[in-house]
């Protein structure tokens, strides 16, 4: 752009002629109306503005934008502006752009928010989220009550599909993680215990850690990433498609129909998966013990049975049951409360996994504190 595409000529004392020349293309950038503004500012007597397009070449939106800006400025300074000499297309497009004025109060300003604002709205948000989650938990409990009375409406096939998906289909990943977990525990224990000639206690270490903590927690975290996320995504996209509304219209409670079978399936499968994870973890520990420490299978098992009482296993199992509820609830809650857009579903899925894992760890800590205080 070597040449000026806009020049200003004073026709008479009170008339300013704006000569628009050459090619206008948005790839050249937009013209700033500041020079026009300077001209009318420097000549306060100006009352008429004329736009002359006699030397105009090709044009596009960049020119429309400029003309609209001149129009607005002229109106602001009570000048009469004449654009009728412009090509017809421009006149019509400008008219179109100005045809529907901005409605009062419709514009949303993005408010500047201070730290205090953010803190306040954060607290309000967190409180309402918590209340909503508690409400959701209550509704799910009522739904289980209806299930117990045989009044809950949901499809039995759904339940079996979820059972299949949460149980057998998850075995591969649970196997892999649990075996590796057992091996890591055995390895870490072996390095330390070997120094005291107490290698045999590796069996106790692996058994205790798996039974009481790791099997339940690792399974729950896997299921949170696998199933909790899937629940949130499924229910979220059903929200987007108005399927949840359709269910309500058919007189079906979405909680009974969608949340109940999902939660039930996970609560039933999580303890089973945890038992399986225990076995696999112990197996992983045994592999390391036998390979590194010259223990025999018999010694390993014998040691484990004699030093790890059943109560640790029961505590682990109890936790896995609660973890199942927590993961299913956070997945379903986030899905049911998802916004109605593609990005909202993604957000809901992320939130479901984060909330699930936080709840798992928090609950696990609580159980540890309580059992320690009680001396269990």
């Amino acid at each position: 752009m070597t040449e000026e595409v806009v020049t200003f000529h004073r026709q008479s004392k009170n008339t300013l002629r704006v000569l628009i020349k050459g090619d206008w293309n948005i790839s050249f950038g937009l013209q700033n109306p500041e020079r026009f503004f300077a001209h009318i500012k420097s000549n306060p007597e100006t009352s008429h503005v004329e736009l002359d397009a006699s030397q105009l070449g090709a044009w596009d939106s960049s020119l429309i934008s400029y003309v609209v800006a001149l129009n607005a400025l002229s109106k602001e300074h009570h000048l009469k502006i004449d654009i009728t000499q412009m090509p017809e297309g421009i006149v019509r497009l400008v008219a179109l752009a100005e045809a529907v004025p901005e409605r009062e109060g419709v514009a949303k300003r993005r408010a500047e928010s201070t730290f205090v604002d953010n803190l306040g709205s954060g607290v309000i948000n967190a409180t309402s989220q918590l209340m909503a989650f508690i409400t959701f938990f209550g509704e799910t409990l009522l739904s289980f009550a209806r299930l117990a009375k045989g009044k809950a409406v949901f499809r039995r096939q759904d339940l079996f599909i979820f059972l299949q998906d949460n149980g057998p289909s998850s075995l591969a990943i649970v196997t892999l993680i649990s075996v590796l977990m057992g091996m890591i525990l055995a390895f870490v224990g072996a390095v330390q215990l070997q120094q005291f000639g107490a290698s045999i206690y590796v069996a106790s270490l692996v058994g205790l850690a798996m039974a009481r903590e790791m099997a339940a927690m690792m399974t729950a975290i896997i299921m949170s990433g696998r199933t909790g996320a899937a629940y949130a995504a499924q229910l979220g996209s059903m929200q987007v498609n108005e399927e949840v509304d359709a269910l309500k219209t058919m007189g079906v409670s979405p909680i009974d129909f969608l949340v109940l079978p999902r939660t039930l399936a996970l609560v039933l499968m999580m303890p089973l998966l945890t038992i399986y994870a225990n076995v696999m973890g112990v197996l992983g520990g045994a592999l390391v013990s036998i390979a590194m420490l010259d223990l025999s299978w018999a010694m390993y098992i014998e040691q484990m049975i004699s030093t790890v009482p059943l109560k640790h296993f029961m505590i682990g199992l109890f936790k896995s049951f609660i973890f199942g509820i927590l993961v299913a609830l956070s997945g379903c809650y986030m899905g049911m409360n998802s916004g109605r857009s593609a990005s909202a579903v993604g957000q809901a899925t992320t939130n479901a996994v984060v909330l699930g894992i936080v709840l798992i760890i928090v609950f696990d800590s609580l159980v540890t504190i309580v059992t320690t205080l009680l001396g269990v």
């Binding site: 948005i26 950038g29 937009l30 090709a58 609209v68 514009a107 949303k108 993005r110």
Partner: protein
């Protein structure tokens, strides 16, 4: 805007076009011309492949056979880069709006400008506001697509389609789901844009009111024979075309006396 080019030349030419999804034949032997400044209607019963044809014309899918020539250049014989460049001259609106839900209207409209021009962010915002005001959405810059009504969403999609001042505008069911008054206003807007931007317009629709009021040329696709039955101005087709299916379509299934019996069977609109 290339007003200087020869106006007598057809803007888009479709030659022996065959459309397939995998092995499934959708339409075959399509031949028609779209002139500059036409409002070209693609019509036909549900499921006959109207949207599929549109998606081939905008270069989204490659045709199984035949050519689509825009300004005498085939979409698919040139390099990928050249096709991308040609596609930038098209503005498209999709059936459900297809606005990116995580972006505000202003960001949605500004996105093509951001991608394909070197404009400053402030200039992009300015142009996006201009386009939104052209479709009657002044002041809605900071709204998200989920916060506005269906009719407004269609208008916003139109604003995005005209962001780069396209030569050809494609609409997939622009007035579907709109009340008659909004549909009429949208038709008027399309006409106004055609006249002022000197654009060529291709519309997929089965709204008879729109077809007759704004269509200047059309093609009729048939689902059974899997080919086009006729092409021409819809108003002339109404009086001149003697094909039963076309007549039944254009008259909402209401035929002359002699055809009454036949029209009761298998009316599909």
């Amino acid at each position: 805007m290339t007003q200087t080019e020869a106006k007598s030349q057809p803007h888009i030419r479709v030659r022996n076009l065959t459309l397939k999804y995998g092995d499934k034949l959708i339409q075959k032997d399509l031949n028609f011309d779209i002139n500059r400044n036409d409002i070209f209607i693609i019509m036909g019963g549900s499921g006959c492949g109207k949207s599929t044809l549109l998606k081939h014309m905008i270069g989204l899918y490659q045709p199984a056979e035949g050519q689509i020539l825009v300004n005498d250049t085939s979409l698919w014989t040139e390099t990928e880069e050249h096709r991308q460049k040609m596609m930038r001259g098209f503005g498209v609106t999709y059936q459900a709006g297809a606005m990116i839900s995580s972006l505000t209207l202003s960001e949605n409209v500004g996105m093509p400008l951001e991608l394909y021009t070197k404009l400053q962010p402030k200039e992009i915002n300015e142009l996006a506001s201009l386009k939104l005001s052209m479709v009657g959405l002044a002041g809605f810059e900071n709204y998200y697509p989920s916060e506005i009504s269906g009719g407004m969403l269609k208008r916003a999609a139109l604003a995005r389609a005209i962001a780069l001042d396209p030569e050809i505008l494609f609409f997939d069911e622009p007035s579907a789901g709109l009340d008659p008054v909004s549909a009429r206003l949208l038709d008027d807007l399309i006409l106004e844009l055609r006249d002022s931007m000197k654009a060529t317009i291709v519309i997929v629709t089965h709204e008879l009111a729109s077809i007759f009021s704004i269509g200047s040329n059309s093609v009729f696709l048939d689902a059974e024979t899997k080919t086009m039955l006729t092409t021409g101005n819809p108003n002339e087709l109404l009086t001149n075309c003697c094909d039963d299916k076309v007549q039944r379509f254009l008259r909402r299934g209401e035929m002359g006396k002699s055809d009454m019996a036949r029209s009761k069977v298998g009316v599909e609109i």
